[in-house]
């Protein structure tokens, strides 16, 4: 077992991914985290729930991961003094998640940084929007909030504030640059502008409906989220989707990966000033999306994954269309890769720009695509291999340079790998049902879902109530881990290179503002 040397009592969770759950006391938290870290593990998510309706206090939840599986650690906190030890010295990425949990629920990590994270002006410091006592639609008294950015002083140092309203149609986020001349000394990002109260909205929803909401946490990763949610729900219900449904899910996930990578490669070329690249890659992405619409009924595959299986089946003609499109894509993307590789001007922009060294990336716990470009070998499809990836032999790609060029090359390689996987999926898919029925009544339980989206790992932790409704559900986006890394990658670069570096990460705002 992956976590068996830890000083906690583990019980295994049923389901597609190897997962365990355990209860821990606040006194043991740091020891457990340190032990997981020493074994090469990392912190995926940290969040809180309110259990006062059951006569308890709060619960702090952690999900810790190793290559072999996932551990869901729960820690009860008393209602009058909901404090727990600061975990950010062990896991750097705990920092913002602790602040977010404090804003929503008042559970306090006793960290030195007392600034809010998700709370802007929509509620007061004393309000706890995630309390069960509040109705989902409740609004709070607004309060202006001053946010104290870390200031850099020195001769000629000044600040450039950018956003949250940008000149292009992109998500809102504020970036505070401290610069001297054109050189970036420090970048501090401030997110939370798209906070929608997703955790609250999940509560009390019928279990089957949760998949729709999960699929809307971050629109470009809808397949990954919907799959992770369904995986968690299937774990609670104790059902296994039929093989054909799992193959179709993998097919959709790889198509989502291809579409997003194509779009990013186009925009990376465009941000480097090569508009030709954008025009070509957007054409290819559009072809993928149109085929999605034709085959699955939705361009971005929203609501195509449902609890128990998938919503629609493909006929022979559909699989053939996918095969043909894969061949065309393989040919065109190869050509475009040659053009990108041979373009001196573009390579001059990409190479050495926005470097995130493997050492820094490891310390920050960077995951997903950005992590793999900086030598962090985490890919669920090749490691924990939830079905059907246990049958597929997905090959993980990594790079060591950690610059924009590495992230560009990794995208190309992952497209090629996904195209290969699509061929294998189409070849191996067997006839059968596309969904297993959900049991009519479901008992209370917990389940974990874990899916490798195009950006990285999406985790959904679901707790169902006895009434067949969601008691609590938390969706975690890989962007939580990777946003702090962006600030490190930008340091020492020049201001006009920031958009390119930012695009090479392409992190979600919506996914971690929740």
């Amino acid at each position: 077992m992956a976590f068996d040397s830890l000083p906690v009592e583990l019980s295994e969770l049923p389901g597609a991914v190897p997962a365990w759950q355990a209860q821990a006391g606040t006194a043991d938290l740091q020891n457990i985290c340190q032990a997981v870290k020493n074994q090469g593990g990392r912190l995926i998510a940290l969040w809180g729930t309110d259990e006062q309706d059951r006569g308890e206090g709060y619960t702090l939840h952690l999900s810790l991961a190793k290559a072999e599986g996932l551990l869901w650690l729960r820690c009860a906190l008393p209602v009058d003094q909901p404090k727990y030890p600061d975990l950010s010295p062990i896991f750097y990425n705990a920092h913002r998640m602790q602040r977010a949990a404090r804003d929503l629920l008042g559970i306090d990590a006793d960290a030195a940084d007392r600034r809010p994270w998700l709370r802007h002006a929509a509620w007061r410091d004393s309000d706890r929007p995630l309390h069960r006592a509040h109705a989902a639609g409740k609004t709070f008294e607004a309060q202006d909030s001053e946010y104290a950015f870390v200031s850099v002083t020195g001769d000629g140092v000044h600040e450039i504030p950018v956003g949250p309203v940008h000149a292009g149609t992109i998500e809102p986020g504020h970036f505070r640059f401290s610069i001297v001349g054109e050189k970036v000394l420090r970048l501090e990002d401030r997110l939370g502008y798209t906070h929608k109260g997703i955790d609250k909205r999940f509560q009390g929803m019928p279990l089957a409906d949760g998949a729709k909401l999960a699929g809307r946490v971050s629109g470009d990763s809808t397949v990954a989220y919907a799959w992770a949610y369904c995986m968690a729900l299937e774990s609670v219900a104790g059902i296994t989707p039929p093989g054909r449904a799992l193959m179709l899910r993998a097919l959709m996930l790889e198509r989502e990966r291809i579409a997003n990578h194509l779009g990013d490669l186009g925009y990376l070329g465009n941000d480097g000033g090569l508009g030709f690249g954008l025009a070509q890659f957007m054409r290819l992405k559009e072809d993928v999306l149109r085929l999605n619409a034709k085959l699955f009924g939705h361009r971005y595959l929203m609501d195509c994954i449902v609890p128990g299986g998938v919503a629609c089946d493909l006929g022979q003609a559909g699989f053939e269309a996918i095969n043909i499109e894969c061949d065309t894509l393989m040919h065109d993307v190869r050509l475009l890769k040659d053009i990108y590789d041979d373009h001196a001007g573009l390579q001059d922009r990409f190479l050495t720009c926005g470097r995130l060294t493997p050492n820094t990336a490891g310390k920050l716990g960077v995951i997903g695509l950005a992590g793999r470009a900086s030598g962090q070998a985490w890919d669920l499809r090749a490691q924990a291999r939830p079905a059907p990836y246990d049958l597929l032999d997905a090959r993980m790609k990594t790079h060591k340079n950690g610059d924009v060029a590495a992230r560009v090359n990794l995208r190309f390689e992952e497209i090629f790998e996904s195209l290969r996987l699509l061929h294998v999926l189409v070849e191996r898919i067997a006839p059968g049902d596309i969904a297993a029925p959900l049991p009519a009544t479901m008992s209370a339980g917990i389940g974990l879902g874990w899916a490798e989206g195009w950006r990285g790992e999406s985790v959904v932790a679901l707790e169902s109530g006895a009434d067949g409704r969601i008691r609590s559900c938390h969706a975690h986006d890989p962007s939580w881990q990777n946003w702090p890394a962006l600030a490190f990658a930008v340091n020492g670069n020049i201001v006009p290179d920031f958009p390119l570096i930012n695009k090479s990460f392409n992190l979600s705002y919506s996914g971690c503002d929740l």
């Binding site: 000044h158 940008h166 000033g273 001007g345």
Partner: protein, 316 residues
């Protein structure tokens, strides 16, 4: 003594420049779109944009000084004056003796100083960011431009653009190797001065990478329209300087009314080819990192100096 025909030619020329400039810009954008496999908005799009902007209300930032308001007009006046000096159709220009090639560079510099001051006037981070980048590009581009103009002046022994064109267009055809070098230098300078790729990207929405666009972010309505028109005019004037220095054939001599008639189609043809060439360069290039601009413009300066040396070695 200003002749009537000269006055008419002069006024026609300025009017023509103002009218044709948006079309040239539209043509470059259209070619860019074609080269990127897009259908493009058509060559009249800049006119539609201008009409839209002129109809909109001009919004001024709090604390905008009169300098900020005046700049679009100063800019437009500068570009009109430049258009008046450069022989576009004929060399019989009454304004021509008022300013030579060196003064022309000064006019461009004046426009640059005003737009940079206006950009810093509001006090936003982007404005000053753009202004200081513009000044960096400007102080590197101007010497290279002057050197290019000097090479052409040496050949015709005059810094007056009208005389330069007269000397080359109406004299016996001679190949000057120095002009080839000067031509490349001039092309590089034009790309930088007109905020085109590879130095600046006129189509970007990324505030942090902008040079020219960052300076005009705070402008709106008729002010922005005038600035856009001035930018188009600047591109047109630069193209016409290029034509006057390197391909002056077809520009009419003073008082040659038939020549004037023929000069217009020649001009349109030359601009069409030049515009396409610019679109091609822009499509094939990526935008440089900003600190590559000194290398780029340094190369332009070096080529211009080489052109002068070649003139002394081979042609003098």
């Amino acid at each position: 003594m200003i002749s009537w025909s000269g006055l008419v030619a002069q006024l026609t020329e300025i009017l023509l420049a103002v009218l044709l400039a948006p079309i040239l810009l539209g043509w470059v954008n259209q070619c860019r779109a074609w080269l990127q496999n897009k259908s493009g908005p058509g060559i009249l799009q800049p006119y539609r944009t201008l009409r839209k902007l002129f109809e909109k209300e001009a919004v001024l930032a709090h604390g905008a000084s009169p300098l900020f308001r005046a700049t679009p007009y100063v800019l437009f006046a500068c570009m009109c004056l430049a258009a008046a000096i450069v022989p576009i159709l004929g060399t019989d220009l009454p304004f021509s003796p008022a300013a030579d090639a060196i003064a022309l560079v000064g006019i461009f510099a004046l426009a640059r100083v005003f737009i940079s001051l206006a950009a810093m006037d509001i006090g936003t981070a982007f404005g000053s960011l753009g202004a200081r980048r513009e000044m960096m590009v400007g102080f590197l581009a101007e010497p290279a431009l002057l050197m290019t103009l000097f090479t052409a002046s040496l050949i015709s022994q005059s810094t007056s653009l009208a005389t330069i064109v007269q000397h080359r267009a109406q004299a016996e055809f001679v190949i000057y190797p120095s002009l080839a070098f000067a031509g490349i230098a001039f092309t590089m300078v034009s790309l930088a001065e007109n905020a085109r790729i590879p130095v600046d990207n006129p189509t970007t929405h990324l505030e942090l990478t902008m040079i020219h666009e960052a300076m005009v972010l705070e402008y709106s309505g008729r002010h922005l329209a005038l600035i856009e028109l001035s930018s188009a005019l600047k591109l047109f004037v630069y193209s016409c300087i290029g034509i006057a220095l390197f391909f002056p054939f077809g520009i009419a001599a003073g008082g040659d009314s038939v020549g004037l008639m023929l000069a217009l189609p020649a001009l349109v043809a030359k601009l069409a080819v030049g515009g396409f060439a610019m679109a091609l360069i822009e499509t094939l290039s990526a935008k440089m990192r900003i600190f590559r601009a000194p290398e780029f413009l340094g190369t332009a300066f070096l080529l211009a100096v080489l052109a002068m040396l070649i003139h002394f070695l081979l042609e003098a």
